[in-house]
């Protein structure tokens, strides 16, 4: 029941036990994920070797973490288009820092990146709440600002290398457990934190704010502060993704390109309502796994990379359309009686 809308929780509580109500929100994307995994097993029977499954988890980690951050923003009623640019900026800035100060401890750079992600998120939040700029525009602007700044700084060719110890989180395995990549550990920690956050009062209030910010405000919720928190956490998630992406492959001026769109696709695939107020963070992360499984499947089938974005576009439109249909029916059936007292 993690992150299921407060209102619909209340509606279901009378008839369905709470855990099952939560399952209901996650179910469609789980069916999709299982279907994709079965397809992968058919196309490539070796896919389920433990080693390869862990490789799949590691590969999915950045997108799943971004999807968790994006979920927080979307469920509270916004969008965060800046995450891809934050990833690119994080990778390039880390390389530049090591270029300027070669002996820098890697944890310092990690801390700088996390703070930077937090800062970007806070600015996104303040611009979209205090200055009332629609978050779509605010974060689009942030994306362009960051892209332009990175380009201006690097002139298209980033400097510096990422040292091995910094790259450990994205590339290496846990010492003493060589089968376990660090990225999977990071993924597990972030995933768990996201679930716990959504089960907390703050998380539930976030969903309620996305569902109806006027009502939430009247009920005493500090809407602007809460939404800013969502953006800030999304920024931090993007910084974590930047650490993993940079660690996995090293410096690239295109490291994060397309990630904002993939993260939104993943969240939508998880059945989270655009506009906020409905959906679970587990489903959003499952959506990210599904998207990654789909990309893997397309590669295995030899489908050209050019088709990947086309397929992604079709998925997004289909998922929103299907979600919209079931939402309008369900809202008529279950939500109106609940609203009356409000």
């Amino acid at each position: 029941m993690t992150g299921t809308g407060r209102v619909s929780d209340a509606a279901h509580r009378r008839r369905i036990p709470a855990p099952l109500a939560g399952l209901r929100a996650v179910a469609p994307v789980l069916v999709l994920l299982v279907a994709l995994l079965v397809a992968l097993a058919v196309v490539d029977p070796g896919f389920f070797d433990p080693e390869r499954l862990l490789a799949f988890l590691r590969r999915s980690a950045p997108l799943v973490i971004l999807a968790a951050g994006q979920y927080l923003v979307i469920v509270s009623g916004g969008f965060d288009l800046s995450v891809g640019a934050v990833v690119t900026t994080g990778v390039v800035v880390a390389a530049e820092l090591f270029n300027l100060a070669p002996g820098l401890p890697w944890l310092v750079v990690v801390a700088v990146l996390l703070l930077g992600g937090l800062l970007v998120g806070v600015v996104n939040g303040i611009v979209s709440t205090v200055f009332a700029v629609p978050s779509f525009i605010a974060t689009l602007g942030m994306m362009l600002v960051l892209q332009g700044a990175v380009f201006f700084w690097t002139q298209g060719a980033p400097r510096g290398y990422l040292p091995e110890d910094y790259r450990m989180l994205g590339r290496s395995a846990v010492p003493g457990a060589e089968w376990l990549p660090w990225a999977v550990v990071v993924l597990a920690v972030v995933g768990l934190a996201a679930v716990l956050f959504m089960r907390s009062d703050t998380g539930r209030t976030l969903v309620a704010t996305g569902d109806n910010d006027v009502a939430a405000g009247l009920a005493g919720v500090r809407v602007a502060r809460l939404r800013t928190l969502a953006f800030a956490l999304s920024g931090v998630a993007a910084a974590v993704a930047a650490i993993l992406v940079g660690g996995f492959t090293g410096v690239s001026a295109q490291a994060g390109s397309g990630y904002e769109f993939q993260a939104i696709t993943a969240v939508v695939l998880g059945g989270v309502a655009l506009g906020g107020g409905r959906g679970s963070v587990v489903a959003a992360m499952a959506g990210a796994f599904s998207l990654q499984a789909l990309f893997t499947l397309l590669t295995l089938l030899g489908v050209s990379g050019a088709w990947e974005s086309a397929v992604q576009g079709v998925i997004v439109i289909t998922a929103v359309a299907v979600g919209g249909i079931s939402w309008s029916r369900r809202s008529r059936r279950t939500h109106q009686p609940v609203r009356e007292p409000v």
Binding site: D44, G46, D49, E51, R52, A55, R59, F79, L81, F136, Q155, G156, A157, P158, R159, G160, Y161, R171, N212, V245, F248, T249, G250, V251, S252, A253, Q254, A255, S257, G258, E260, F261, I264, V268, A273, L274, G275, T296, T299, L300, L301, G302, V303, S304, G305, A306, W307, S309, A310, Q312, G313, V316, I317, V320, A321, G324, S328, S331, R339
Partner: protein, 397 residues
């Protein structure tokens, strides 16, 4: 009322996301290679619309041509030149040169652009150098060229974004002032000279021939390509495909990577796991070659023979890890040549009508000459910029 608001929000969101899709898609070239592009190994290679047998033969022959020009300045050399007189363009300096650049959208162009600027600074007779950057957009470059021809430029240098679309704009400019085209060509011979290295066929063949020589017969080779439908990249693959067909190697996969290192690393990892290893990797560009090398390392298997390019990160990985590798180049030193050509044209000296520059291939024997550990990872060793003022600082070193 809530429902209506939500519907509108979702509608806006869908439209916005659709816009994003369109935005992403516009970066992709037309999928000219068709649905079979994913595994082009099965297709009859002679069907490719990007293959031109005569041009292929010409490029492979040019690799052995003896260049005309100073040996230590390859950007001044020309292969099989046919000189044309330029007396009609002679004028006294100082000169006002103009340049319409396709854009600075990758490190190759960044390195080239820095090199060109430094070359311009070497010549006091160039009083003014006006540059417009088209940011990778054909329509912007068309208006850039129109704008520059309306100014008092003495000569116009063009690095076209695409061939066919820019042809009319270049042809119109030719009627007003002397034009020099470099890198990618146009479908008109009105420019005084067209400058470029040998070309994509020679580039692609160099890597494939290296693999055919170094990989055991019957070996499994993975080909990594950036994206379908880009002519220069299609030429590279078309030539490699021919070489592989005539060899004993088996091309087990042809994958598009969009030049993304993560995609490269994941793709190579998948192939290693599925085929229990690979015997060779061919790449149509080297920006992501280190990611491919790391995929083998992370899988704990030896790195097989691999082709890269003249980026420093690859050359260093090659040197430090003792790879069996080759680095065909598409030299960035060609950005110096248009400036020198412009001064020759305005000075009334003859220039090659088709100025074909040498296209060095870095091998084990010449690797040490191109290693520059203090340069940035995506610095191109074939920049020919070492003798220019402010090297290496201006190139990020």
């Amino acid at each position: 009322m809530r429902t209506r608001t939500r519907t509108r929000t979702v509608g806006v969101a869908v439209a916005a996301v659709a816009l994003l899709v369109a935005g992403c898609a516009s970066d992709l070239p037309d999928a000219g290679a068709g649905p079979s592009a994913g595994d082009g190994t099965e297709a009859d290679a002679t069907d490719s619309e990007f293959f031109d047998q005569a041009e292929y033969d010409r490029q492979l022959a040019l690799r052995d041509a003896v260049p005309d020009g100073p040996a230590d300045r390859p950007w001044e050399q020309a292969l099989d030149p046919e000189y044309v007189p330029t007396e009609e363009y002679r004028q006294d300096g100082p000169y006002h040169l103009c340049f319409s650049n396709a854009g600075l959208f990758n490190p190759w162009r960044s390195v080239g652009w820095r090199t060109m600027r430094a070359e311009v600074d070497l010549h006091p007779e160039i009083a003014e150098f006006t540059v417009l950057d088209a940011q990778g957009q054909d329509d912007k470059q068309i208006s850039d060229i129109q704008s520059l021809t309306g100014q008092d430029c003495d000569l116009l240098i063009v690095s076209p974004n695409t061939t066919a679309t820019l042809t009319p704009a270049v042809a119109a400019a030719c009627e007003r002032l002397p034009v020099i085209v470099f890198d990618r060509g146009v479908d008109t011979d009105c420019p005084v000279t067209f400058i470029s290295p040998i070309g994509g066929y020679a580039y692609g063949a160099a890597g494939a021939e290296f693999l055919a020589e170094t990989v055991e017969p019957g070996g499994q080779v993975l080909a990594l390509r950036i994206s379908p439908g880009v002519d220069v990249l299609e030429h590279r693959w078309a030539a490699a495909e021919r070489v592989f067909e005539d060899s004993d190697l088996e091309v087990v996969g042809v994958q598009f990577t969009e030049d993304d290192p993560a995609t490269v690393k994941n793709t190579v990892s998948d192939y290693i796991q599925r085929f229990g290893g690979l015997d060779g990797v061919w790449m149509d560009a080297g920006a992501t070659a280190v990611a491919a090398v790391e995929a083998f390392e992370d899988a704990g298997v030896p790195v097989p023979p691999i082709t890269g390019e003249d980026q420093q990160d690859f050359l260093q990985a090659w040197d430090e890890r003792g790879l069996t590798a080759v680095a065909p180049g598409y030299p960035t030193f060609q950005w110096r040549t248009p400036v020198l050509a412009a001064l020759r044209v305005l000075g009334g000296q003859e220039v090659p009508e088709r100025w074909v520059l040498p296209q060095p291939v870095i091998t084990q024997d010449t690797l040490d000459d191109y290693l520059q550990p203090d340069m940035p990872p995506q610095h191109y060793a074939l920049c020919g910029c070492e003798d220019l003022p402010d090297f290496p600082a201006a190139w990020g070193g």
